[in-house]
Symmetry: C2
Subunit: 446 residues, 2 copies
């Protein structure tokens, strides 16, 4: 069972300084599956991680590495005795090597490739004709298929011999290897043995295109009600299948990618990555943000004279910017979700903009009044209330507009809105907010 074994983290950290693990811990580790060990290793600081790695049996190490994220995995790969790899690679399969490929130094990758038989090598080569974003890269080759003229008896013979996980369909293919139909295994039991399989085949089974994105393909399988769906190429040739467990793993990864992208990181980020590496990973995002912050400052700088005379403007500036940022991020989040589900299209963007502008207008007026009143009460200047109220209204409306157009345009340019949408949006709302507030202040308060 793939429990993350969080209760072991403390004991291992304590015990690893004594160079020996207690029997309890050793037993728990031996009983844990590869996924649980992978999660546990990722949860440990580097020294403890390496110490635990030493205690794991050599024959389990490859399985554990496969389950880990790239960054924490690389730390272990670098610290694994070079002589061990030969043993690891004895029975390695194409699918396992594909999981590891990104983290392996090229010499080890070649060694692993050479250790596989011709069939696995061919699978490996086929997978690498696709990018990691295409489902063709991740399809598996454990499936049941029969010629199109096979009978129920052939089907029964096949399932008695082997039964891959999540297998509720037998795929029928023609002589050129093209996928034709699928037969639910459940139907075999209630049929006479001489019935042709095509007679009980489903006529509306969905196939997945090899070039489809992993996210859409995974969703297709997970909502299909079947354990797996066939993957075909443009000639309808059956090249593999995608089962629900692989689909779930790909979905988790995609979800993590989105979550981490919102903060400019990737899903392979290690909890305990070395300080220098971690600083580098994050520096780009901080740098981009710095440019946008200086841009906002440059706009503020245009109003230095005003700020000097009405210092209340400097005090209240963050309020205007932040209300715009929050309002915009709400629209942005709604549109990002809509784009991901194909629910936002050129046809309804206009209607969406109309609705968001109305929501923004209503919220803008309400908050303009509230904030204006607070400003008047605080600084005793009614005109300041009018100025900040107008600036808030303008900025919330600008936020609604940017919240729609920024993600739609990014999506059109094939840039992930989850990654860069929020930086661009807050740049817009910062600048509009500062310029509106300080500009109106210059007009009405000097």
């Amino acid at each position: 069972m793939s429990e993350p074994l969080p209760h072991l983290i403390e004991e291992i950290i304590e015990q690893s300084s004594q160079d020996i693990l207690s029997n309890d811990v050793t037993t728990a580790l031996a009983q844990a599956d590869d996924k649980a060990l992978a999660l546990l290793l990722e949860s440990l600081p580097i020294d403890e991680r390496l110490a635990l790695w030493e205690t794991i049996a050599a024959k389990r190490k490859l399985g554990v590495l496969i389950e880990m994220r790239s960054d924490p995995r690389e730390v272990l790969i670098e610290n694994t005795d070079a002589n061990l790899w030969q043993t690891f690679f004895i029975d390695i399969e194409a699918e396992e090597l594909l999981e590891l490929a990104d983290s392996l130094p090229s010499a080890l990758l070649e060694q692993a490739y050479a250790a596989m038989d011709k069939v696995q090598q061919a699978y490996f080569a086929q997978a690498n004709e696709y990018t990691e974003e295409q489902i063709g890269h991740w399809g598996t080759h454990e499936f049941l298929s029969l010629p199109i003229n096979a009978k129920v008896r052939d089907g029964l013979r096949l399932i008695r011999r082997e039964m891959p996980r999540h297998c509720d369909l037998i795929f029928l293919t023609n002589r050129s290897g093209q996928f034709s139909e699928a037969v639910p295994i459940a139907l075999l039991h209630a049929q006479p043995e001489h019935v042709p399989l095509v007679d009980i085949a489903l006529d509306d089974i969905n196939t997945i295109m090899d070039t489809e994105s992993c996210l859409i393909a995974s969703k297709q399988v997970q909502l299909s009600g079947f354990g797996a769906l066939p993957i075909v190429d443009e000639n309808q040739k059956l090249i593999g299948r995608l089962d629900v467990t692989t689909a779930a793993e790909l979905s988790f990864e995609e979800y993590e990618r989105q979550l981490m992208a919102g903060a400019g990181m990737d899903e392979d980020e290690d909890l305990f990555s070395p300080v220098r590496k971690s600083s580098q990973n994050r520096a780009i995002w901080l740098g981009i943000n710095l440019l946008t912050a200086f841009l906002a400052s440059a706009f503020i700088g245009m109003f230095e004279a005003t700020l000097q005379q009405v210092v209340a403007l400097a005090v209240l500036m963050p309020v205007v910017a932040s209300m715009g940022g929050i309002a915009g991020s709400q629209t942005l989040t709604l549109i990002i979700r809509g784009l991901a589900l194909n629910q936002v299209t050129p046809a309804n963007v206009g209607a969406l903009l109309g609705k968001e502008l109305k929501v923004g207008g209503l919220n803008g007026v309400i908050w303009a009044i509230v904030i204006g009143a607070v400003a008047v009460a605080w600084f005793g200047d009614p005109m300041l209330g009018v100025v900040i109220g107008l600036a808030i209204l303008l900025n919330i409306i600008a936020a609604a507009t940017a919240g729609i157009f920024v993600p739609v345009l990014l999506d059109k340019l094939k840039i992930d809105p989850a990654l860069s949408g929020s930086v661009i949006l807050t740049t817009v709302t910062d600048i509009v907010g500062f310029v509106a507030f300080l500009g109106l202040g210059t007009l009405f308060l000097l």
Copy 2:
């Protein structure tokens, strides 16, 4: 197949003004499954959504409603002819009613409940003993089970009669209905008929506790390699099962919830919700944000005299606050993911803090130098460079600390860090940034 039919959105919007849909569109709609129609309805502005709803056959409407999110669904429920419900509810099952329960007015809920037979009513009542966050609420009752003394022949007879989706196991229960073991259906075919099922049962199948959270239970099923796992109560009584499709749906909902929570919305938010409702939904979040923004302003207000004399401080203020916010959100995101995977525990928080402080220190020094240099070049005042550099360094270190402690404390208090973590964090980094920058400015620049 559940395509979202995005290409239809435009045609429907155009054609619905003419009160008649073209044959092409009607055919496409008839062929689409319930999920696809649900996504399509959600993608349409209210008027077009209601117009399309009218054209959908009465016998499909319940199925489509079940697939929709609550908010867009409620719009349709309010606009559905009261007489139709009687027909909708004829064959309704407990699981369907559970999906709808939140959106139905209580009179309709009672009507639906009364229309179900005793068995379904009992399932409905059992599910409602759990909260929506507990997996017991969502377990299904379509599974295969046999008494513990059953033989292979009984198993074969059972699967010839019925075969629920994602069913690769037969559950064995004792006389009190307690779950005992599970038999892989694939093994039945290769066994003599008189073999007792217990002889070929798995001894390490995982059960799911009825009170387990939906997210953890779903992950357990999705990574188990089985099509479904049994759900048991505290007495080990078999109360249902969770299959991979239901698990995938629960996971999607949880992802959406997290994504939307980051902007203070919930996953049921309608793309085209009525303006007043939408404004209300978002107002709370804007209000909370406003309080934190005014709090930051209050701290700035303490330095009015300084700002009046050194206006450059007002110009550069946003840079200090925003660098802290970004650095903090990176740590926060990493910790939120770690908490979700049970990888962050009291045992390694100390080590994580140490690492993040080092990363923050290194990045802080680098960016302090960069930003200090820009400030000197811009305003020609070396002391200003020192002041902003120190403020940046302090704020990035504060951000790393808050990025760890805010989510860990929220998690301990059972508050979702994905919802409120970022607001609290940026409040901290805003205040620390402004106070450090303006405070140091007061000390060194006046």
